[in-house]
């Protein structure tokens, strides 16, 4: 299954030299969304080579950038096909494209349109005017939910490796039932951090993602211990669980900052400098407690 479309100039309908030029990346889904929104109209669609990556990520990487846009205008001979000199760019392409540079090098004026393709029809109907809502990034529950599978998939391999370590460790020292319980605890913390944290993001207290993840993870640890029995676990295992499980959950929710359209780079760095050592320390301490419990 290919998720790229060839870069170049496409016609939607039968555009004349006066019709608008909309620019997008060659990520198939984004390209299809724009075409769907623009169906029934006549316009030019300039598709940039971003190697199948969406506008936002490509702009961050530089592929949805000034050089590619200028190059694509030249390669497609756009200036010979349209009589005007206006381009409509998706707003989130702004991180990669310098409008004044494009103007200087091609004569085309870049206008940043709405964030979402769904707002393109209204933007065009308003005479290329954006409402404030068109320029506002949201992060609704549905949008967060859509990002959870990405985080899950990316974390699967490291998770598998950790499980491959944890199960034998517990099974050999305390029996297979203990191994299974450890796996369940670990998986629960993992899912709390990758799924629950992101979904409950605005409702978990505090601005810190690691903090939100830790809190959710603490809730999981309590629930897990309550179900399996504090008494059967014993003091050492319970304490270890209450330290390590929130740390694991916190780490994964912290990683959700990568999917989040409002977390600043500086903020994430600050969080990491504080949270990573604390998480590592909590896991280490949990390990020591488990060892102490096993020895005693």
């Amino acid at each position: 299954m290919r998720y790229q479309v060839p870069a170049g100039l496409y016609a939607i309908g039968s555009p004349s030299p006066d019709d608008p030029v909309v620019v997008t990346a060659n990520y198939k889904m984004g390209y299809d969304l724009v075409r769907r929104q623009m169906a029934g109209r006549n316009l030019w669609l300039l598709v940039l080579e971003t190697f199948g990556v969406n506008v936002w990520c490509a702009a961050g990487k530089g592929t949805f950038g000034t050089d590619e846009l200028v190059g694509r205008i030249e390669k497609t001979g756009l200036s010979r096909l349209v009589s005007h000199r206006r381009l409509i760019l998706p707003m989130l392409g702004g991180t990669g494209v310098a409008a004044h540079e494009v103007k200087r090098r091609t004569g085309f004026t870049v206008g940043y349109g709405p964030i979402r393709a769904a707002d393109l029809p209204e933007y065009l109907a308003n005479g290329l005017a954006a409402t404030p809502q068109m320029r506002e990034l949201t992060f609704t529950l549905r949008e967060r939910l859509a990002l959870v599978p990405v985080e899950l998939l990316l974390a699967l391999k490291p998770l598998a490796m950790v499980c491959a370590l944890i199960f034998p460790l517990f099974a050999l020292t305390a029996g297979p039932a203990a191994g299974v319980r450890a796996l369940v605890a670990l998986l629960g913390a993992f899912l709390t951090g990758t799924v629950l944290g992101p979904l409950l993001l605005p409702w978990l207290p505090g601005p810190s993602f690691a903090g939100k993840g830790a809190l959710a993870g603490f809730g999981w640890a309590l629930a897990f211990l309550a179900v399996t029995g504090f008494r059967s676990a014993g003091v050492f295992v319970s304490a270890a669980a209450l330290l390590a499980l929130p740390a694991i959950s916190a780490y994964h929710t912290l990683n959700f900052t990568g999917c989040t359209p409002f977390a600043s780079r500086s903020g994430v760095k600050k969080e990491m400098r504080l949270a990573l050592p604390v998480m590592a320390g909590a896991v280490l301490l949990g390990g020591i407690l488990l060892l102490a419990g096993w020895r005693s």
């Binding site: 949201t138 990316l154 903020g267």
Partner: protein
């Protein structure tokens, strides 16, 4: 962006109002409405809302904006920190 606030007083965004020509491009590209126009120049209206994407800096023809833009994801930053020491693939393979 309604309802979501991140850490306060960490954002590195700086605006040189003397250099600003009031073109308004920063308002056009900012996804968090950080800027406003006042007295024919831009000003930072909501610093903590900035996610440091860098679109404003990229599109300022007067070079009046500065921000430490780049990967803002924990895994990506880990890759940067470890990459500098020659250790690859720590954070994950997203980018």
């Amino acid at each position: 962006m309604k309802g979501f606030r991140y850490l306060r007083n960490v954002v590195t965004l700086e605006l040189d109002r003397e250099a600003c020509t009031g073109c308004g491009k920063c308002l056009e590209v900012c996804p968090h409405q950080v800027f406003a126009l006042a007295g024919r120049r831009a000003l930072i209206a909501d610093l903590d809302a900035c996610m440091e994407c860098g679109a404003c800096m990229r599109n300022c023809p007067a070079g009046a904006l500065r921000v430490d833009a780049g990967v803002g994801c924990a895994a990506g930053i880990l890759n940067e920190w470890f990459g500098k020491r020659g250790i690859g693939g720590v954070g994950g393979g997203c980018c």
